[in-house]
């Protein structure tokens, strides 16, 4: 089970690299979102996956899941949500201000002091 999720997160991160290397801003943003998903899946796997166990330490329960990675992922997801929403607004501002969504065409913009 761990092996499958690790391979899955590898696929996610690999495709995110492919997306981020393209020229369109929207593709780059989708790439960053995919990267964060892959990383979060990796974080979940690192706490070891056990199916059907409670994430609570209780004297009556002998086998329990580590609750910490889940709490950490929730925090990381919230942060990734905030970043993705900000980067979307920024991308729209850039599209309106610079008139293009192609990063290649943004290179030659002169510096204005």
């Amino acid at each position: 089970m761990e092996l499958i999720t690790i391979i899955l997160s590898g696929i996610l991160i690999g495709s995110s690299v492919y997306m981020m290397l393209s020229k369109s801003i929207i593709r780059i943003i989708i790439g960053t979102a995919l990267l964060s998903h892959g990383v979060h899946l990796m974080l979940l796997t690192m706490g070891r996956l056990k199916q059907g166990n409670v994430p609570v330490l209780d004297p009556e329960v002998s086998s329990y899941t580590d609750p910490l990675p889940q709490a950490l992922i929730l925090t990381a997801i919230v942060i990734a949500f905030a970043l993705t929403s900000y980067i979307l607004v920024l991308a729209l501002r850039m599209y309106r201000e610079l008139g293009t969504d192609n990063v290649e065409e943004m290179k030659g913009v002169p510096h204005d002091d």
């Binding site: 929207i26 929730l74 919230v78 949500f81 929403s85 900000y86 607004v89 729209l92 501002r93």
Partner: protein, 155 residues
């Protein structure tokens, strides 16, 4: 982006679609989503759910209204400044842990108890709920503010 749409063959990008079916069903579905958002919010302590998911779902319900109607109508329905909503949420979320100093306990220490309510039986009361209200308001406010900023830019 409009250029992408043009490439895909759309000659004219329509501004607002007045779809009777969408408008009517969204009036009904809006309340279902909001109720489900509150259900998720209150489920949060012992079962999956919580302030973040609830807030996002509540924002999603309002975004459904934005899709069905236009922005002016929605602003008339909900005359809320989202910045104030975020600030209120932050005050609640950060103020409650600070209040715990008054009780002589460290930052973020929570109190909880069980009370018996006539219909529901024994119900857990936890001060973390107030913190979650703050999270709910902040998340819903942020999501709506972002959508509003994007929508305003498109005019």
């Amino acid at each position: 982006m409009k250029s992408t749409l043009k490439k895909a063959g759309y000659s004219k990008v329509q501004k607002q679609v007045h779809d009777v079916f969408l408008q009517f069903t969204s009036k009904v579905i809006f309340f279902i989503i909001i109720l489900f958002a509150f259900k998720l919010f209150f489920a949060g302590h012992y079962t999956p759910g919580g302030g973040f998911v609830g807030g996002l779902l509540a924002a999603a319900a309002i975004i459904l209204l934005l899709i069905a109607f236009d922005q002016k109508t929605v602003e008339k329905m909900l005359p809320i400044d989202f910045r104030i909503l975020i600030a209120t949420g932050l005050v609640i979320a950060a103020g409650l842990p600070t209040l715990s100093f008054l009780f002589g306990t460290p930052f973020f220490t929570h109190q909880h108890t069980y009370i018996t309510v006539p219909v529901f039986g024994e119900v857990a009361l936890h001060s973390a709920v107030i913190f979650d209200v703050g999270v709910f308001l902040t998340v819903a406010g942020t999501a709506l503010l972002i959508i509003k900023l994007i929508a305003e830019e498109d005019d």
